[in-house]
């Protein structure tokens, strides 16, 4: 008989008029990895954020080991035995590794009002060693470490005090394969100790492989809880979306000839500290993929093509010989770019959907050739492309900040489709996006390819690179480290061997 660790009962949460959680109740057991899945906006993160004291509870209760808890903040949640590892960076810059690990729990190192920094560092070093992260030093600033290592520090911070429940919210999407393995190891350890992991992920194969139990949420409602062993990926998709997911997920074609026409030439591009001597050609109607570890420099390739890198050397040249050195020239010559950092670099978060879509095209939405904007043209333009991308919204006056990740991405894509871009650089286009929107994006890419547009797709998800690209270039330590053409024989292992 499984012992219940956490009882969620009648949990309700509203954000203004949006109902994020509608009366959700279910149980989570001891000693299990319990996955929480659902599309964007289904309420997964809302639920766990309330459990960790990040959002206040509207109504409903959490009962942990028979005791009702009302965490007021993250430290309070920690004291109840609940901790969280978040999707984005959860460490504070400017503090040392040790200070980050013990943030909010410094009292154990304080005597007579003074903090014993040496004792704190010693304790942190002991923990880091125990976790096998010897290369991280407790007294260094976290700023000295890359994204990956900072995530490892967060693992220590969230689990060293043996909490009863650890929430892992979309952490794996930000990690490379190595980092993931590290995380899985600690998930197993927590389970073995009889404690519970609440695991949130969009990666269904990962969910099936790593969890014992899966709870599905849809539109803020509880759908069901199942054992991972008893269910298939397709059934999970059906439960999440609420209908059959039909058709091909990725492209179905193999062996199609890509046009010989070169539309973009990248020659000996170097961005100091990021990429070194990168050269390649992009063909008309081609989907060219870039893969690698997250620090391999592949994200910088996208920025370099778009003219957005600092201190870039080398040439980015169009078929007609035009040099692309800045963003304005890039956009004028029909190059589009969507960043991995969607909220900061892609959408203007505190502006309307309409303005976001029309922004690069405003010069064409005027009265005749004058400089005066025709607002009815702007509105029609925004409505048209928002509809074409089926953005889920009230109207185009709505602010982008109110949209889910998938819909934000659709707004960015609508912007560039509206601009009529021929060369589209997509950096992690499906990061943190649910299956349905993912499928929409893949279909859109396939359509664009057939229309003769060229796409560069940079991604940390190897499966989507293999499924979508005509060619995949692998980067390692900022340099090109191999190239693979589209074929059914390619699998993840053939890419990983070039990445590490």
């Amino acid at each position: 008989m499984d012992e219940v660790r956490l009882q969620v009962s009648h949990m309700i949460k509203n954000f203004g008029i949006t109902k994020a959680l509608k009366d959700v109740s279910f149980n989570i057991n001891k000693g299990e990895v319990h996955a929480l899945i659902g599309e964007n906006g289904s309420g997964k993160s809302t639920l766990t954020n309330m459990l960790c004291g990040i959002y206040p509870i509207d109504s409903g209760t959490f009962t942990l080991d028979g005791v009702e808890i009302h965490p007021k903040n993250q430290v309070d949640a920690n004291n109840h035995g609940v901790s969280i590892i978040v999707q984005e960076l959860g460490t504070l810059s400017g503090l040392t590794v040790a200070e980050n690990i013990f943030l909010g729990h410094e009292e154990r190192f304080i005597t007579a009002g003074f903090r014993n920094t040496n004792a704190m560092n010693a304790e942190a070093n002991r923990l880091l060693k125990e976790y096998g992260f010897d290369r991280i030093k407790a007294s260094s600033l976290v700023d000295d470490y890359n994204f990956e290592d900072r995530k490892l520090i967060e693992i220590v911070k969230a689990t060293y005090f043996k909490p009863k429940i650890v929430v892992i919210d979309e952490t794996t999407t930000a990690l490379s394969q190595e980092g993931r393995e590290e995380l899985y190891k600690h998930m197993d350890r927590i389970r073995a100790e009889g404690n519970t992991v609440i695991f949130i992920s969009h990666d269904l194969p990962e969910v099936l492989a790593k969890s014992d139990t899966i709870t599905v949420l849809r539109d803020g409602e509880y759908i069901t809880t199942v054992k991972s062993a008893d269910i298939t990926e397709d059934d999970l998709k059906k439960l999440m979306v609420g209908r059959e997911v039909t058709g091909n997920y990725y492209r179905a074609d193999y062996g199609e000839e890509v046009s010989q026409e070169v539309v973009l030439k990248v020659k000996n591009v170097t961005v100091p500290g990021k990429i070194e001597d990168v050269s390649f050609e992009l063909h008309k109607g081609e989907i060219l993929g870039f893969g690698g570890l997250s620090e391999s420099g592949m994200h910088e390739v996208g920025k370099a093509i778009f003219g957005a890198s600092y201190g870039r050397q080398g040439q980015v040249e169009l078929a007609d010989g035009t040099q692309i050195n800045d963003i304005q020239t890039a956009i004028r010559h029909s190059i589009a770019y969507t960043s991995k950092d969607r909220d900061n670099e892609s959408v203007v978060i505190n502006q309307s959907i309409g303005d976001n879509i029309a922004l690069p095209s405003l010069s064409h939405l005027t009265y005749g050739k004058s400089m005066f904007l025709d607002w009815s043209k702007v509105r029609t333009f925004a409505d048209k492309f928002a509809k074409e991308m089926s953005v889920k919204m009230v109207n185009t006056e709505q602010f982008v900040s109110e949209l889910s990740g998938g819909n934000k991405q659709k707004v960015v894509l609508a912007r560039w489709i509206g601009r009529g871009s021929d060369i589209v650089v997509l950096d992690s286009p499906t990061r943190g996006i649910d299956i349905k929107v993912k499928q929409d994006i893949y279909q859109l890419m396939d359509r664009m390819r057939k229309e003769g547009k060229s796409i560069i797709m940079i991604s940390e998800e190897l499966m989507e690179l293999i499924g979508m690209c005509d060619r995949i270039i692998i980067l390692k330590d900022g340099k090109l480290n191999g190239e693979i053409s589209r074929s059914q024989e390619v699998n993840e292992n053939s890419l990983i061997s070039m990445m590490v």
Binding site: I17, F306, A308, I327, Q328, I331, Y337, S339, N344, E345, S346, V347, V348, I349, N350, Q351, S352, D355, N356, A358, L359, P360, L362, S363, M371, F372, L373, W375, V394, N395, E397, Q398, F399, R415
Partner: protein, 321 residues
Amino acid sequence: MANAVVENDKEQELKKLHKMRLIRSLLPIVGLILVFLLFNFLTNGRIIKHLPLALSTVYVTMIASMGVFFIMTMGGLDFSQGSILGLSAIVCCTLSHYSIPLAICGGILTGAAIGAINGYFYVNRKIKSFIVTICTMFLFRGLIKFLTTNSPVAGSAELLEIDSTAFKVTCTVVVVGIGFVCFSYTKFGTYLKAIGAGEKAAMFAGISTDRMKFWVYVLSGAITGFAAFISAIKVGSVTSSGGNQLETQILIALVLGGMPISGGAMARFYNVIVGSLLYVILSSGLTMIGFTTQMMQLIQGVVFLVFVAIFADRKAIHVIK
């Protein structure tokens, strides 16, 4: 059935959204009318009777507010406006002995030059705008004091002859009119709002954010340089306190007009007009009731604090650059 419910929900959502926006945009206008009526009542109608006098300071405030409005829309601040006005007025008065058009150009160029200094340190040296402009405020206030050490700088007689309500109203309407059209009917306004709402994303959407930020500071300086001309024809000379505290007056005016202090997409051009009228009526009303200058500063401070506390968008406040 289920679809109908969703549609209904959406419609209600839409209505609620529109209602909230309408209330927000109407509030400053309602406030303006209420304050106007209140002070007429308190002063037995003296404000209406002496309307030109009551409004005599609105021209400078409104014109200069417009420049700061552009800056604040893109998320910056400018505290150097008072010093810009003072120094531009000195140049304007000095040059007015030679030629009036030269005086106007001199004032505008002086303002633009100080704006360029602000813009350079803000954009190229990447120092927060309020730090930069506080520095230039002190620096040029010092220069004004030095230039007026022995005596106020007086303008020529011709300069004073230009002064008439009709002339000032015309100038204000023209300048503000141009500003309105540029802000609301060209991409200038949308670009400014985009920079205020998310600078990096604006850059990745193809806006030359750095160039834009620099030139908006220059523009704002130039606009205040022109306001200095209006101020010069009214006063005829500049003392060491010329333009003193204009920057706070502008800030209060814009906030009273409903301007979000962190800028961005919610900035509306009427913020400038309603705000400066509200401010001027408030301050001349208080004077007519008989409050001393010291007392007024206190009251203005309280009003400012209350408005900021009520209207500040706390989620966006950290983006002030």
